[in-house]
């Protein structure tokens, strides 16, 4: 995958999260894709229920399964890590 494609994937992941969690107040361009998704000051303000929601949506949208919670903690660290995980799984 080229850098451009990975950047596009990150944008797609960002858009999917915004749509899944119905977040309308945030300008997508203001979101830093490397910022922690579950930090208290993250603009998404996600909790554990949102995490499962994202896991299930990622599976439906990208056809990749995040199979255990330890893996999920790593993968859902940021939009960047999630996009990189999807990229790795799709490349298998």
């Amino acid at each position: 995958m080229t850098d451009t494609t990975l950047i596009q994937l990150k944008e797609e992941v960002k858009a999917v999260i915004i749509k899944t969690l119905n977040i309308n107040k945030i300008n997508p361009e203001s979101i830093d894709t490397s910022a922690p998704l579950f930090a208290p000051d993250n603009p998404f303000g996600l909790d554990s229920v949102d995490a499962i929601d994202i896991i299930m949506t990622v599976q439906k949208h990208f056809d990749v399964r995040i199979a255990d919670q330890n893996l999920a903690r790593d993968v859902l660290e940021s939009i960047d890590t999630l996009a990189e995980f999807i990229h790795r799984e799709k490349s298998k």
Binding site: D47, S48, I55, A67, D68, Q69, D74
Partner: protein
């Protein structure tokens, strides 16, 4: 810090991960899903008892069973010991470490302070490997942590000798003998047979598929057992914790078992097991749907009769699916 050379790996579940890491260190090449499957780790039980403040369920076999079943089916011999007197348990751990031996030990998960605080709850049946010690700290390889971590000596001692239900009593173990020739094919078949038997055939109303149906029936009555809506919400959200967070959760255990079946199909050159693996993945997805549903209605305090009946129906559906699944699996290995 005197550190023993030990490969730290994350794992889906603490007990299967700890046992796998110990076996790998001792020279036996085996994966975590294979340990989980051979040890018949997949399970279901629904419990209402005076031991628990509220009904609870488990989605894996009894803590400690993985090591025991691996010993039985692979012929591995483990050194294991628990202690009535903490000082004896501390001395024994230190003695084994001084011999250069990594040691698995049972702890209260809450004291694993190197993990994020939101993860840590009091659970007396967490397993970690201890791989070094200096004057003030132990070096811990916890399969839930990204890397090895130091833990204060007094904190680990507290975690090993805390009281309460299923108190760890300083329990420790390591493999002292690995057979040269292991019949993995036979062990896989035995592991599958025992798991499928316990899911469909045990004549106990709260175990296996019967336990799932009991859970489905009883969950609609949980409002009568809860003190108030906050308590009910907490207990319903705990379904999510048990399915997704604790151990690896029901969905996670199903995914782990699916991976075992996939690896077993390659080992036994049995394409039917490959198909069963794919079906188990889908069953895991459906458990995850339940987890999400429970978390959502719990969080939103949307806990009226209709919602709980919906939840109950979802659990009944899982019981139906797993009954068909494990009946077929049992026939395959009978």
């Amino acid at each position: 810090m005197k550190e023993i050379v030990f490969e730290h790996k994350m794992a889906a579940h603490c007990e299967s991960g700890t046992v796998t890491a110990q076996l790998n260190h001792a020279g036996l090449e085996i994966t975590e899903p294979m340990v989980f499957g051979i040890a018949s780790g997949i399970f279901f039980g629904y419990f209402e008892s005076s031991n628990f403040p509220f009904p609870m369920f488990i989605v894996r076999n009894r803590p400690g069973s993985m090591r025991k079943n691996i010993a039985k089916r692979l012929g591995v011999k483990f050194y294991s010991k628990d202690f009535r007197k903490p000082q004896k348990g501390i001395d024994e751990l230190d003695r084994l470490l001084a011999e250069g031996r990594p040691v698995a030990t049972q702890v209260d998960f809450y004291y694993m302070e190197f993990l994020p605080e939101f993860m840590r709850t009091h659970v007396n049946v967490h397993f970690v490997n201890i791989i070094g010690k200096n004057e003030n700290t132990y070096l811990v390889s916890d399969s839930y942590a990204r890397q090895k971590a130091e833990l204060a000596v007094e904190t680990l001692n507290k975690a090993r000798f805390v009281g309460g239900y299923m108190a760890p009593k300083g329990f420790l173990f390591y493999p002292k003998y690995i057979p040269e020739n292991i019949d993995f094919d036979k062990a896989i078949i035995k592991g599958i047979k025992k798991a499928a038997h316990d899911m469909i055939k045990l004549p106990v109303p709260f175990i296996g598929i019967k336990g799932m149906r009991k859970f489905a029936k009883k969950v609609t009555g949980w409002p009568e057992l809860a003190r108030d809506i906050d308590h009910l919400s907490h207990e319903i959200m705990k379904i999510n914790v048990l399915l997704e967070d604790q151990g690896t959760g029901g969905a996670g255990f199903r995914f782990l078992y699916a991976t075992f079946l996939q690896q077993a199909s390659q080992k036994l050159k049995d394409s039917q097991l490959e198909g069963m693996s794919k079906r188990m993945m889908l069953i895991g997805d459906d458990w995850r749907n339940i987890s999400y549903f429970a978390a959502k209605i719990g969080k939103n305090r949307d806990l009226g009769k209709e919602r709980l009946e919906e939840l109950s129906q979802m659990i009944y559906n899982m019981a139906d699916q797993e009954q068909v699944f494990f009946t077929e699996l049992y026939k395959m290995v009978k």
